[in-house]
């Protein structure tokens, strides 16, 4: 049984390395994510954020602008997940006198 | 040589994960898991994403460790299998 587990782990590792080898190298300027215009002739989101983040919000930290302004509904979902965890612990685990 | 440092971090990561799986004492396993989280944070910082590394260091190595210690305090300290 132990040998079967390690065999399964080895097969999964081979698949993982095979998938990762197709990715472009880190910091590659020719990768599709680093282009200004995507292959479908539309503007890539990253280029837009780098160009307009300071102009739009006067905030130097681009990550903060993306998290709290451009993609704020995503962050709202994150806070709702934390709140749902708190509510679950409150209703199941809290002991009342 | 950044790649040598990253290779060393990955080796420590895998060794820490395997040790955390094999340990019978659950408190020691929690401490090894916090080491794992901290190495993940260092790898994230070496990849250039400081925010993700900061979050991983604060949450994975700080608060999750406290919660797992509390869970061990409420249940048992030895692994069954």
């Amino acid at each position: 049984m132990k040998a079967f587990q390690f065999l399964l782990l080895a097969v999964l590792t081979v698949f993982l390395f095979y998938t990762v080898m197709d990715m472009p190298p880190r910091g590659d300027l020719d990768a599709p994510a680093s282009q200004i215009v995507s292959p479908a002739d539309s503007q890539v989101a990253g280029a837009y954020y780098i160009k307009y983040a300071y102009k739009d919000t006067h905030t130097p930290n681009m990550v903060c602008v993306v998290l709290a302004d451009y993609r704020s509904v995503d962050t709202l979902g994150e806070v709702v997940v934390v709140f749902a965890g708190v509510m679950t612990c409150f209703f199941i685990l809290r002991r009342r006198p | 040589m950044p790649w040598a440092i990253e290779l060393m971090l990955f080796i420590i990561l895998i060794v820490a994960a395997l040790i955390a799986l094999q340990l019978r004492n659950l408190l020691a396993a929690v401490i090894t898991l916090t080491i794992y989280s901290f190495i993940v944070a260092l790898i994230m910082i070496s990849l250039g994403s400081v925010d993700v590394g900061f979050t991983e260091a604060v949450v994975g190595a700080g608060v999750v460790g406290i919660y797992l210690v509390v869970a061990i305090f409420k249940t048992t300290r030895k692994s069954c299998d």
């Binding site: 919000t57 302004d69 509904v73 965890g85 | 900061f54 409420k74």
Partner: protein, 148 residues
């Protein structure tokens, strides 16, 4: 329930260390506009300071810092601040979470969005900090019968 520790070294060390952890948390929260950090990380650091006091001084004696009666209500208030900012932007004429349309006098354009981001991060910090402390209290229990 965790009782108060018998060792004076641990208690003095925890009580000396906790304000500095929380000061770092406040710094990370307010410095999120200019460097790595932000609401989530700052809230977790503030909660870590409170949890250090909870673990060292015992659940009963550390009620003076953050009372466990108020934590769930403050968590709900933090999530409400976040959602209400978006809904006020709708009432101001824009779309959901468009801080450009918040009805605040003497501010407009990019500066309004700057303070909108700060306000939203305040909501995240409140929700995360009090939420983590509330989960800790619910899992362990407080001890004397009145509060829990």
């Amino acid at each position: 329930m965790i009782t108060q520790t018998q060792s004076p070294i641990i208690e003095i060390a925890a009580r000396g260390l906790a304000p500095f952890i929380q000061l770092l948390g406040i710094y990370v929260f307010f410095h999120g506009h200019y460097g790595p950090g932000g609401g989530f990380q700052g809230g977790v650091l503030l909660a870590a300071g409170v949890l250090l006091l909870r673990m060292s001084m015992g659940s009963v004696h550390s009620q003076a810092h953050v009372s466990s009666k108020k934590t769930v209500a403050l968590c709900a208030l933090g999530a409400f601040i976040f959602a209400a900012t978006g809904i006020i932007a709708i009432l101001g004429g824009g779309e959901f979470m468009d801080y450009h349309y918040l009805p605040v006098p003497f501010l407009e354009g990019p500066d309004l969005r700057y303070y909108g981001i700060l306000f939203v991060e305040l909501g995240i910090t409140m929700a995360v900090m009090t939420g983590l402390v509330a989960i800790y209290d619910d899992v362990l229990g407080i001890g004397h019968a009145g509060t829990n």
